[in-house]
């Protein structure tokens, strides 16, 4: 009854969008898991990535420069944002929520004053926008999946084998012991914010051709990113990836039946996941 082509296509769409959810959500997951900061300002990097890609594609005609630029800028801005948010360590969650909400409002306004308030469409790059024969999928969707998988693998390898990555893992596990070893835990927090922001920037740049850039684009992604974080298990790297893909699949299958069903299905899935396993799929108590 249902075509195999459609199933494959929707699966590809779902994995692609799920990967973007996971990329944006990873920074949130790390900072929320350890520092207990609901960092709404994190979503600004997602919007910034999308807008930078828009700028480079219109000015220089290059998609790749946009990604590289957003990585560099978001990395630096992420470090800067930590300089402000470090005052929030150890505060209550609601307090951090309000302060970052205020920063989000200010950031949206800055974006408005730089790029204007109107909708801006980003075309997917020419060399990636050819259709795959027989399936009718734009190659860009596959590119998103490949790119994010490589990125995620790099992150996992970085966490496991490099010294800086090990410091982050140790910090998440037990920050006092890390300090007793003579390592400044600020290295870990700085790196977590910078990496998370850079990934959110990449997520934004990859999402821009599939979506439309406008100042309030953070709204929808904010909901999905938080859903991903909690569904996958707070503070877990693999959990965020798995959560993102599961929610993304639900999003795309439901979207095939009726476009407006996607958010309903995503959040019903989140509801069910939370009732069955309150700490998330990969979460620990």
């Amino acid at each position: 009854m249902v075509d195999i082509e459609i199933i494959i296509r929707q699966t590809m769409y779902g994995i692609g969008i799920g990967m973007i959810f996971a990329l944006v959500a990873l920074g949130l997951s790390l900072t929320f898991g350890k520092m207990k900061i609901v960092n709404l300002a994190h979503m600004l990097f997602y919007a910034l990535g999308a807008y930078l890609v828009f700028t480079t594609t219109t000015l220089a005609g290059s998609f790749l420069y946009g990604i590289l630029l957003s990585v560099a800028i978001c990395f630096i801005l992420g470090m800067l944002s930590e300089q402000i948010l470090k005052y929030l360590y150890g505060k209550t969650i609601e307090y951090t929520f309000i302060v970052t909400y205020a920063i989000l409002l200010i950031g949206i306004d800055i974006i408005k004053s730089i790029w204007g308030v109107d909708y801006k469409a980003v075309a997917s790059p020419k060399e990636l926008s050819w259709a795959i024969p027989f399936l009718g999928i734009e190659f860009y969707r596959v590119f998103v999946i490949i790119f994010s998988v490589i990125l995620y693998l790099l992150i996992i390898l970085f966490m496991r084998y490099s010294m800086l990555g090990k410091i982050i893992v140790a910090f998440i596990d037990n920050d006092e012991h890390l300090q007793a070893m003579g390592i400044n835990p600020r290295i870990a927090t700085l790196l977590m914010f910078a990496l998370g922001s850079a990934l959110a920037g990449i997520g934004g740049s990859l999402h821009a051709p599939l979506y439309v850039t406008f100042p309030y684009m953070v709204g929808d992604m904010l909901l999905y990113a938080f859903a991903t974080v909690v569904a996958g298990g707070i503070g877990s790297v693999t959990g965020t990836l798995v959560g993102g893909i599961i929610l993304g699949l639900g999003y795309s299958y439901a979207g095939y039946i009726q476009p407006f069903l996607s958010p309903i299905v995503v959040f019903l899935m989140l509801f069910i996941i939370l009732i069955v396993k309150p700490e998330g799929i990969f979460g620990t108590k």
């Binding site: 969650i93 302060v99 200010i106 909901l223 407006f260 959040f267 019903l268 509801f271 939370l274 009732i275």
Partner: protein, 327 residues
């Protein structure tokens, strides 16, 4: 004779308890309409009923709900449908709205109130998203989606189409809610909620069914939120789905924290400050977010999470005025 005086004294004493309700009523009925347009005041009252509902869970129980707009929407659309499609008297529809809120709250509450923290926040958010998209698309023929529908308010026993009458009705409902909240905040029930906030296991050991207590608190909260939604529709005579967009749940938390979630006046102070700022600044400056964001940041940092009322109470306590003002 002595006994008679005693009784009189006691009535006076218990009357003193309600001074603040009376003052608030006079302020909202006589003084404030002179300076502030009535539509804004009606809006503030409707939102502050919602903040009361939110504070009941957040202030006493410590459960932060990120989805009370869902119940706001349930109340608003129950009110709308009852008047527009069932042709029920608007005054009766006001009673129907909290009942619908209680029903939906009782339905979801079984699953939602088991745990606090992020679990509670996100399950509520899911409900909010689902309700929003159901309203926006599935019921679009009836709700009008983002474009919204008008609500005929002329049909009832009392003509509710004039601004003055509407404001009076909203004010009466608000006062009743405020009195209810005041009674509730002094009751054993609120004490139990606060005790659960401190340590739930101990209350369980004492023999209380903590689930039932939280469940009842949740249902009271949802029905109050639905009542607030009905008041919002009453004040605008119009309802649009765009008000209930799930991200705006953040505004509820902001209003609550602005006023101070622990104080009984927090809701009205927070709602009026935030909405006032938003309306006034948005009327003069296009980029209102920058200014509101900076003001928000300053107030939050200065008030250290206590809110305006929390700080005021602290200052008053230090100068010992608080014992004179009812407390």
């Amino acid at each position: 004779m002595l006994r008679y005086y005693n009784v009189q004294l006691r009535t006076l004493k218990s009357l003193g308890k309600w001074t603040d309700v009376f003052l608030l009523l006079v302020l909202l009925l006589v003084v404030l309409p002179l300076f502030i347009p009535r539509f804004l005041l009606a809006d503030i009252l409707a939102w502050s009923i919602l903040i009361f509902a939110f504070n009941l869970l957040y202030g006493f129980l410590g459960y932060l709900s990120f989805g009370h707009l869902a119940y706001f929407a349930v109340g608003a659309y129950t009110f709308t449908f009852a008047i527009r499609y069932l042709h029920i008297d608007p005054l009766l529809a006001i009673i129907l709205a909290p009942l619908a809120g209680a029903f939906v709250g009782a339905l979801f509450g079984v699953a939602v109130v088991r745990r606090g923290d992020i679990y509670f926040a996100l399950t509520n958010l899911s409900i909010s998203v689902v309700v929003y998209y159901v309203v926006l698309f599935f019921l679009k023929d009836y709700t009008g989606g983002d474009a919204g529908v008008f609500v005929p308010l002329k049909s009832g026993i009392i003509d509710l189409s004039s601004r003055g009458t509407v404001y009076l009705v909203i004010l009466i409902v608000f006062t009743l809610v405020f009195i209810l909240y005041k009674i509730l905040s002094k009751s054993t029930f609120a004490l139990l909620l606060q005790a659960i906030k401190e340590k739930e296991d101990r209350i369980k050991f004492l023999g209380y069914n903590t689930f039932l207590i939280k469940y009842i608190a949740y249902i009271i909260s949802t029905s109050l939120a639905a009542l607030g939604g009905a008041m919002l529709v009453l004040s605008h005579a119009y309802v649009s789905a765009s008000v209930f967009f799930p991200v705006y749940n953040g505004e509820i938390i902001v209003m609550s924290m602005f006023g101070g979630p622990l104080s009984i006046y927090g809701a009205i102070v927070g709602a009026s400050t935030y909405l006032g700022l938003k309306y006034v600044i948005a009327a003069y400056i296009i980029r209102w977010e920058l200014i509101v964001g900076i003001i928000l940041l300053t107030i939050m940092v200065l008030a250290r999470g206590l809110g305006i009322c929390g700080v005021a109470e602290k200052v008053l306590k230090r100068t010992k005025i608080i014992s004179v003002v009812s407390r």
